[in-house]
Amino acid sequence: MSAASSQEALRREVRDWLSQNVDAGWRAAMTDSEQEAFFALQKEWFSELVKAGYATPHWPEGWPGGGRSLAEQKIIYEEVARADAPRLILYFVALYHAACTLFECGSAEQQSRYLPAILEGEIWCQGFSEPNAGSDLASLKTRAVRQGDHYVITGQKTWSTMAQYADRCLLLARTDKGERPQAGLTYLLLDMRARGVTVRPISQITGDDEFAEIFFDEVEVPVEDRIGEEGAGWAVAQTTLASERGLTLVELSQRMRYALPLIVDAMRRSDRLDDAAIRRDFGRLITHVDAACALADRYLLKRISGDEAPGDASIVKLYYARTLREFTALGKRIAGLDGQYHRGFMRGATQETGNWTVDFMNSYNWSIAGGSDEIQRNIIAERMLGMPREPRDWTLKGQGA
């Protein structure tokens, strides 16, 4: 069977499976839902995907569900988007960040200790960001001090997705105040139930609490839970961050495309289906969504063929973030006063739910987190266009480095 026809077969297989297994009522069930219901849905959908072998297509050959090519992974994500299946946000860090870091940088023993538990539903969170560090990872301050066969951790992390539910944490901590700030970071796997760990959910402006702060007060981590060498944490963290390889934005831009009818619904509901001005803006949005999909696809194809260039990923993210803003802003505008009334958010949903004010505010997550739009613009200007970088040592008199 040729690659093309085996891919077509996979697409049909996944599509069939999804059509039988996605509960179309999940959006209604997740609206204004309790945490428990959200938890239950995530767990159930996760275990179904694992059973079907669609949760870990990116894992290596030999692991359950693994060994799929990037092209096949793309097909699975496209079909998941097309079927409007729930997003597995509770397990994302475990399935991608934790697993890929273990595959690429973990020892065989670490892999066999942690990966099977992930398949059984262990929840992970990421401990990279810190207050006041913003997009500047090299300035992290949480400390890990070696004492015998343990590191002792003290400090604070923030913006950790779902940390309040997590069993384990991917932690980046400073073991050394070396000359280059990146050089002194070490990468550890931390048990969230260890003594000295406190989690405080961050209250978001939408009323959601998808993120949390984590406080570490002399938390002990065994040395065998270190990934890579002491001081090599920066490089390991790059592996973590690169782990989803562009698939997320393929999925999300496809989801955005399938969500376009939400705008038409809003037009109908506000009696403006024939408003020429709205139609023109909607047409422009369709084009931008189409282009966001094309950029995400092209990026993944480049990764598949090994042609990725510096800045490519920044273009995809910047364009997606901008288009998502335009999408949600248009919905908000059409909805008018009705869109301003408070409605409960939909847990674990996609970026477009038709709860327009929430969707609009949430769109800022994409232009702020994971390297803000401003950082992406710097990268594009400097690495793609070759414009000069501002010297790092430019500071105002009497201020900082």
């Binding site: 913003g134 923030t158 913006w159 006063l337 004010t357 505010m361 800022y364 803000s372 790092r392």
Partner: protein, 359 residues
């Protein structure tokens, strides 16, 4: 601005900041306070016992209330007072006095209403339909109703049969809005303020007052938020420098400043264009156009400042711990109060083109 207006602005700023009219304030206490301060009298002519500071006075106060994210439902009462004070109708004197003192509270729709009036067999007037965006209606005894067909303006008791209000919580927690549903409620002939042509003129004047007041709120909010954001950028360090030193951010702040200043200039300039020598609102097509422009520009400036501020604050702005989102949510709601958002631009163009065709 006149010295009196400057003084009003200064004292309002102190009151809003110092005595805490913001989110933390108790709405009832705040209401009593502004009543004591005489703000409810600000636009009423002196000969009717008011301060005679006209639209300019109302806008000065709304600017400061917007700046401080005040929760006090000032505008609905002010609109009702303006209605009550106009023309001559039976209950005018008593109602005006008790409303200016804050004793009687009347709410008014800040959105579009679809109320209609019919006379039944006995000649009694029956009201039907819906109105939206009545602020703090649960604290009012009456609502100012405008029949969409222009037949009349009247006060309607909220406890009357056939009248129902429903709370409609908004993302903007600094306002408490209600829907009004009316089914076959009889209008009290004693409480009819205007009918026919004079009702229609009064409606226009109230719409102008509403648009200017919302614009003033927006200008105040935009100015305060931009200051807050610039201060944040001055403080916050990244890559070893204050964010305020990054030229891309400076230029975006400069554009927001220009937008805000333009809104403020247009608002000030508009005050002359829509008022007579006494500072009272006039109902001309030009005045209506000016109000459309002022409201549109101010609310778009506020939204632009709020949206960019969210981005410029980064993660911290996405948390409820920071005030950024309170401004954002108020800015978004302001865009949708008054007429439907797009109809401001559209209405201006329509009136301009109609004006050319007449000339």
């Amino acid at each position: 601005m006149t010295p009196e207006l400057n003084q009003l602005t200064d004292s309002a700023r102190q009151v809003v900041a110092g005595l805490g009219l913001g989110l933390a304030a108790d709405e009832q206490e705040a209401y009593s306070l502004i009543a004591e301060l005489g703000w409810l009298m600000v636009s009423t002519p002196e000969e009717q016992g008011g301060l005679g500071m006209g639209l300019a006075g109302a806008c000065a106060l709304h600017t400061e209330l917007g700046r401080g994210l005040a929760t006090v439902p000032f505008l609905p009462q002010l609109l009702a007072i303006s209605a009550v004070s106009s023309g001559a109708w039976p209950g005018q004197e008593i109602w005006l006095e008790s409303m200016m003192s804050g004793e009687r509270r009347v709410t008014t729709s800040l959105g579009e209403s679809s109320l209609t009036v019919e006379r039944d067999g006995d000649g009694a007037m029956k009201l039907n339909g819906r109105a939206v965006a009545l602020a703090s209606a649960d604290c009012a005894s009456h609502v100012l109703v405008e029949a969409a067909d222009g037949v009349c303006l009247a006060l309607l008791a909220l406890d009357q049969s056939g009248v129902r209000i429903t709370a409609r919580p908004t993302w903007d927690v600094t306002r408490r809005l209600f829907d009004l549903e009316v089914s076959d409620a009889a209008l009290d002939p004693q409480l009819i303020i205007a009918q026919g042509e004079s009702a229609s003129l009064l409606r226009q004047r109230l719409a102008i007052l509403r648009d200017f007041a919302l614009a003033a709120d927006a200008v105040g909010g935009a100015m305060a938020l931009l200051e807050m954001t610039v201060e944040y950028l001055q403080t916050r360090q990244q890559f070893g420098r204050p964010l305020a030193l990054f030229q891309a951010l400076k230029h975006r702040c400069a554009d927001l400043k220009a937008h805000t200043e333009a809104a403020q200039a247009l608002l000030q300039d508009g005050l002359d264009a829509v008022t007579d020598r006494e500072g009272d609102v006039i109902a001309t097509p030009e005045a209506e156009m000016k109000a459309l422009a002022v409201k549109q520009l101010a609310c778009s400036a506020y939204a632009a400042v709020a949206e960019e501020s969210l981005q410029l604050h980064g993660g911290i702005g996405m948390t409820s711990e920071h005030d950024c989102h309170l401004f954002l949510k108020r800015a978004l709601l302001n865009e949708h109060l008054g007429r439907r958002q797009d109809s401001y631009d559209r209405g201006l163009a329509d009136r301009f083109i109609a004006g050319l065709n007449q000339a």
